[in-house]
Each structure stands twice: as structure tokens, then as C-alpha cells.
Symmetry: D2
Subunit: 156 residues, 4 copies
């Protein structure tokens, strides 16, 4: 792949779940990062994207790989608040770190979601070991394709 990739912007989070301290992409250099942008009540997230992110976290647990959830609430903010997310994550036994995307001051779309230019949820962003965005997709990706991309990035 000879394209020129941009560096992933840093995650801006108002809080974190399943992580004792905030994670930064810069400290994750050397690891492949899967960023799963979701809203807890979005059906495509809940039924497909979020279980897939959890499966990736488990499948590549022994590799230099980090799955991170990014709760990018851009609608129904009062309902999908951090307390609700905490219950959701516990009930669905999500174990990977989840960042609550920082609400923006003048927009319903939160800060990191804006910086990543995501169109909706679920969105999947793959960041290589150097911190470059190698894949960004709104919607579904098959497990086979996702595994294939992660495998290729792990081997770089």
C-alpha cells in the first residue's frame, strides 16, 4: 500500500469505562488499534458492531492489539448518558476500554467523532502501529474482512 495516510487524531474523552486511566493513541504506538464508534441504543451497534469489537479484543488478546470503544452520542444525549452506558456495558459484559466522546459546545456531534469525520454509528477505524488511519468505515464489515485487515496490520 503506497497511499499516504493521515495520523489519527487523539481521542478526546470526558470519561472512560473499563480502564483505570485514560488511554492515548500516542502511547499505543506499536499496537494496532481498533476504534469502534457506537451509540448504546443504535441497533446496528448493539447487534453487530459492538459484539464484533468484543470478539476482536478476545481474538487478538495475545497480539499487539487494542480495541477501544468510543461512545459517540450525537442524538438522544440525555438518554445515552454515561450512567446508562455503565449499565449497558455491565449488562452486556463488555470488557474492552470505552471512551465517552467529549460533547462539543456548538454541535450535537461530539469532539472525537468530528475530528475523525465519522458519518454515523457504528463506525470502525483501524489505526496502524505508527498511529496512521488505515481504514475508516461507517456500517458493517464482515468478521473475515476485519480479521484480515487486523492481521495485515499486525504483520507490518
Amino acid at each position: 500500500m503506497s497511499e499516504t495516510y493521515i495520523e489519527a487524531p487523539e481521542i478526546v474523552a470526558s470519561s472512560w469505562l473499563n480502564s483505570e486511566r485514560p488511554l492515548t493513541l500516542s502511547e499505543l504506538r506499536g499496537k494496532v488499534v481498533l476504534l469502534h464508534a457506537f451509540q448504546m441504543l443504535c441497533p446496528g451497534c448493539l447487534l453487530q458492531g459492538t459484539p464484533q469489537a468484543a470478539a476482536a479484543a478476545e481474538c487478538f488478546a495475545d497480539e499487539p492489539f487494542q480495541a477501544i470503544g468510543l461512545h459517540t452520542v450525537f442524538e438522544h444525549h440525555s438518554v445515552m448518558n454515561p450512567d446508562a452506558l455503565k449499565v449497558f456495558a455491565r449488562e452486556f459484559r463488555l470488557a474492552f476500554p470505552i471512551a465517552v466522546d467529549q460533547p462539543a459546545e456548538n454541535s450535537a456531534v461530539p469532539v472525537t467523532m468530528q475530528k475523525l469525520g465519522l458519518q454515523g454509528t457504528p463506525s470502525l477505524v483501524l489505526i496502524d502501529k505508527r498511529g496512521l488511519i488505515r481504514f475508516s468505515r461507517f456500517g458493517q464489515v464482515s468478521d473475515m474482512q476485519l480479521g484480515g485487515m487486523i492481521g495485515q496490520l499486525l504483520a507490518e
Copy 2:
């Protein structure tokens, strides 16, 4: 079936979704009623019980049949509130009537859930055309078995 069945207690709801006015079991005499007790963030509800109730509503739309959701919140009350339920129902395109079970004064378990003696969510209650409880089950039931029971009650 020669057993003696008890009459289903009336639904006590603080509000309703997908229904212009409150439904009562007494006005539903002559119809088979499926009562699906759920909590919006309970995985067994969201992934199995609630879609099954929706499928039953559609499958038996031309029969004297009524599916009713009963949102029996007994934990995380502040998160699974009526506003959250409204968003959930819209996002998951639930079209059948849903009663918000009336919170109890001295218990985390809401009123109708107590009266029905349900053990948790999801629970499924089948009420025959005379208003008698013919089946009550905590947990999963296959579509085939549920269809079979509804069919038998419809034929009475």
C-alpha cells in the same frame, strides 16, 4: 387441559407507548394476549424475547391476538426510565403497545410484575380469551413452542 387457571391481574401502568390509550386485559376478552415482560437493557430481552414478541405480533396480526410489552424495571431505574424506553422503542422499531409497569412504593419490583409473580426478565405470560393465565415462563421459549401455544389458545 383440566387444570384450574387463575385470572390474570390487571396491568397497572404509569404510561403507555405505541397505544393512544391504556389497554386493559378486561377489554381484551376474546383475544389471546401475549405479555412480554422486559427491561430494555437486559440482553436476553433485547436479543431474543423482545424480537420474538414483535414477531408474534406480526405473525398473528390477523387473528384475535394482542402482544403487549410490559417494561418491568426492577434495577437501574434511573437509566431505564420512560424517556430512554421511548428512544429504545423507536430505534428498534417496536410497534406493539408497551406498558410502563407502575413503580412500587416499597419495592424495587414494580406493581404488575409483583402481581404476576414474575422472577425476572424476560418473562412471557400467555392469557387466554377468557382472561386466564395459561403459561408463565421466566427465560427463553422457542418460536415453534410459542407459536404452538398461541395457536392452541386461538383455537379455543
Copy 3:
């Protein structure tokens, strides 16, 4: 239902699996009969219809109900022969009785399949306790709908 139904024609089989002796519809009066017409290498049978017939046999095991497979080979006869069917039934652990539809003399379509007027495989035929055909469908039926129809016929 006030329609006039025709009586199901008798099964004409060259051999049987999973039954010590040939079954006849006339001796099954008083039972609801599900006839699952299939070919062992038809994907819609193998992936949906046949497992569904097996599930019905199990679900209604305590009821006056009989599931019967009807191996209606109308193409690739040399490949889907009775020996192959035997291996198939054992490998897929089919336990319900299966009739091998009698090959016809002047047609690729076997005898019972012709008499039932079936258009292809899988086809589902429901026969009531009096021996009347109440439902005949080429293609898929949901478990919920099938359960509902069986339940209604059982209650007659």
C-alpha cells in the same frame, strides 16, 4: 375456516427410514401430520426445512402429532438414492420417519409428489386429524407461523 378441504392422498413409498414399518395417513387419523417434502442436497431443505421438521417433531412430541419426511427426488436421482439418504439421515441425526417417494414410470417427479401437486422442495404439507390437507406451501415458513398452525390443528 369454512373452506372445503380435500383429503390428503396416501403416501406411496418405495422404502422407509426411521420406522420399522411403512406409515399410512389413514392410520394417523386423530393426529396432526406434518409432511416435509425434501431432497437431501437441496440447500433450502438442508439449511432450513429439514431442521425445522426435526424441531417440530421434538416440540410436539407429547401431542397427537406426527412429522414425516418425504424424500421427493425429482433431479439427480442417481446421486440422491436411498443409500445416500441413509447416510445423510444418520450424519444429520434425523430421527423422524422418512418415506422415499416412489419413482414414477414416465416422469422424473415421483408418485406422491405428483399426487400432492408440489412445485418443488422444500414443501410443507399440514394434514389435520381427519386427514384433510389444511396447508401446502413450497418454500419457507417461519417457526412461529408453523407452530401457530400446528397448535390450531391440534386444538380441533
Copy 4:
């Protein structure tokens, strides 16, 4: 990975499907090869392994990748013969090349299956661009894990 891998033994086939001429592993140097050993009437093959091999063939169609089916009949030989396989492949719309493993003279287990030391069906063998066996597994592998392994081998 610093282990020493053995070279994959050449495929010995009595015939091929979906390929105008026999394929050899030696001519596939430079490509990652997925070898899917199966029997057409083995449920774990038919329901999981074979569709997975087909999905891999499609997912990695633009990569230096080749999926090959290996019909390793070690039981019920007369039923799962090449004619039956041909019908099966057509009915299930399998498009990737399939080798019929050469029957052995003194064993029910065919030649290539013996050389690969496979324990049963389905078995999955991954061969890297140099022709070395990098993974061999009897039973199921998730799509995510398989994708990950293929991706890593493609990147070498």
C-alpha cells in the same frame, strides 16, 4: 514466529471441480493457500467449514490468495462419490476449486489426507507463500481468527 515449518505435501487428486486443470501447490508459491478438507455430508463441513472457505475465497479475491477444497472421503465412499460431489457443489453454488482426494489402496483414508496427517473433517490447513504449513486444525475456527491468520500470512 521462529518455529521451523514443514513444506506442505503436494495435493494428489483423482479429479478436480471448478478448475480447468489440476492445481499444484508448487505453482501457487507466492500465494497464501487455504486448504479446506471436507466431506460433502459432514454436518460441520456443510454448515460451517465449507461456507467459511467460500467466504474466504470471496473476501480475499483481490489478494494473492487461493482457497482450495479437498474432498477427503474416508467413510461412505460409494455415496460421497465424484458425481454426488458435482451435484453438491452446483446446488450449493461453490465456486472455488475442489480436488477429489485420491483414494488410497490399503486404507479408507485418501492419499492427501494421510500425507497431511488430518484427523477428520472439516480440517483447515493454511500454507504460506513459500509453501510451508503454518496452521492445521481439525474442527471449527472463527471467521475473525481465520481472517487474522490469512491477513498475517498475506503481509509476509
